[in-house]
Amino acid sequence: MSMGSLLEMKGITKVYPNGVLANDGVDFSVRKGEIHALVGENGAGKTTLMRVLFGLETPDEGEIYYKGSQLQISSPLQAIRSGIGMVHQHFMLAPSLTVTENIVLGVEPRKGLRFDWDQAVSKVKELAERYNLHVDPRAQIRDIPIGMRQKVEILKALLRGAELLVLDEPTAVLTPQETEELFASLMELKKQGHTMVFISHKLGEVKQITDRISVMRGGRMVGVRNTAEVSEADISRLMVGRDVLLRVNKPPAKPGKKVLEVESLSLFTPEGKALLDGVSFSVREGEILGIAGVEGNGQSELVEILTGLRQAHGGSLRIEGQLCTNAAPGQLRRLGVSHIPEDRMLHGVAVDAAIQENLMADRISKPDYSGKVFLRTKDIESTAKSLVQEFNIVARSPRTPVKMLSGGNIQKVVVAREFSSNPKLVIANQPTRGVDVGAIEFIHRKLVEICRSGVAVLLISADLNEVMSLSDRLLVFYGGRVVAGFSNADAVSEEELGLYMLGIKAQESAQLKEALA
């Protein structure tokens, strides 16, 4: 065992029931008091490794040493007792409870048989003070912003005595301002002797905050480096195994006629709260209109309405001038709308069906693929084969069930289907969420390609980098409304966007009108 190691994982192997070898003899070690980055493409095995550490998965082989002695971790409870805490990518909080209640849940201070609320509040306050993680102990979780929820998650782990904190893509849901704040807290934690594992895709952040970097690729550990000694390009080369083009090459847009026209669209919750509040905009052929915004500000609802999965309560929607408000998904598809859904596992694929069956879902009734009674099996197979080839889907055969593929390849199945249907409008909602760098590059290139061939593209993304580098025009959503619009997406800074996304700034209606046209 090497000097000063707090955690040592040796030869971890994990195979999932669907046959995916997620970890293949992985060695991973963390020194006491460092912030250690764990990076890799999606599907490289980072999350699996951390799930093993936290007792959420049982490894098929391998050993874990913590503070010098071997540890058998079979449940999260055991991991927490040993001093290992995890902040998940999706927060595990009860929205109707207060900040304090969430933090002390399970380790509540008591007065006799009763819950001692005052002591709990003061405990939380003290803890927040000590680590510079400011939260409002009396607020309900559902009323506080994402950034504060994350602090609650961190405090939860700290209260349980976590010395080693695992942060799974903590900045994925944060605005630039919130990210800066988080980093300040992490540095404070480090100063007080805590050790952190920082899982991330964003190499800039990794460079900024970590001491050492472990890089995983294809289920194996491919290198450990001191952060100070490597550049972002070095890390990304290690991750992907080759040079990647992170900047998108985009020829200038030549916008044509309007394909999609949205006019004062509105949607309400059963309680009467507006989810969409008079949203209007249009997308022209040959341009990419980007929608930026913190998640949960109406973007998902907008997409659901545009694709027929949800009914609007007011407003109208036209495709190439034809009124089609609240049409069924099949009708909209026939008008040339294609859709890369936000949640590919829910809407994008049927995981137990073969790749070729997934590729044909939107077009099976067309005469090319189905005769009067029987399917044209040969045509289906040959089309599927060529799509698999064109879109680089790594699979044994088009008959392989989708569940056997990695996240990036599943997304490529979705993209292949949606791009090959001769669309007039492509609605891409988080098109590269949770896919590896290689697939991101590929999907970005395809998006630009299809757009410049004369298709209108509506891009919704929580990844500022993505939405800024791909879009020609840009809108910002906040609270179910368009609060800002930029007719030239290159002319905006990340910081400025952040202010609009947080609702701190909003444009005047005159300025907005110009960008919406």
Binding site: V15, P17, L21, G218, H347, A350, A361
Partner: protein, 353 residues
Amino acid sequence: MIRRDLVFEIGRTLIAIALALLLGFVIVLLVSEEPFNAFINFVAGPLTTTRRIGNWIEATIPLIFTGLAVCIAFQAGQFNIGAEGQLFFGAVTATIVALTFQLPMYLHVLVALLGAMVGGAIAGAIPGIMKARWGANELVSSLMLNYVFYRLGLYLINYHYRDSSAGAMVSYRLPETSWLQQFWPPTRVHWGLWVALAAILFSYLFLYRTRWGYALRMTGLNKDFAAYAGISVSAVIIYSQVISGAIAGLAGAADVLGLYRRFQWQQLPGYGFDGIIIAILARNHPLGVPIAALFLAYVRSGASIMSRMSDVSAEMVAIIQGIMILLVTAQAFLAKWRHRSVVREAKKHGLNA
């Protein structure tokens, strides 16, 4: 399904059957004075005479229909606990059609079978429409409708088509032109067997070779995905239940037109619930249905022979059935064994290969 999974599922089913039979034998050993005689009658009995082989095949025919009916509903992600009522009502409508029309030989059978399909389809359509239009849980509605169609069927037969000269509550005798002919004397094996084979072929082609079957399977695998892709999920729910009901209706017609030649049920025959067992054993695949139906019918007729030839009662078979279903449906049963082969293969091929 990929080959490894297929081999695993077949192996798992066979082991489950073997274990269930073993346990059955142990029980016989405990309760019987002549355990070996009883067990040999159970295991080999159905094959000892031509008539017994015939009984086995006769019993298989309705089970094939109800097994297929449940398969189709299951593949659409729907339950059909109503096959029982559908087949009962199908038998009633077949009887009514056979008694009402006077037609030449082959045509009359066909029309009577069609009548059964229409009756079953109506009974199946109701839970389908209720689910598609109002979101009514088809599990509950199809189960409840069993009793509705049971009583409705009895009313129609007892009050309108009852043969008062017969000593029991039965319908008039059906005209010979409407019979499914028995073709293998001395057994009662009848043309219904060929109809069953046709239904298997139809179900397979429909599910795997037509766009409607494709839409049905995608809806069953992930209905959000199906809706997203432009498939009309409510249409699928309705037509899957209609087709399922129509096939279930044939099960009733097969027994009435092929075996009894008059309507004589006063109770629900139970084939509808057997259909669920068969669909589970066949993993919802139409080509697995005849094998599962033959197997279930074999166990049943073995048990009935055993009860006649020894001191063990036929209900013993219910225990064997229960254990089998339990083991087959338990996802984790033998999963470790499979996982080890998965690990081995994964390491050989590397990531995601």
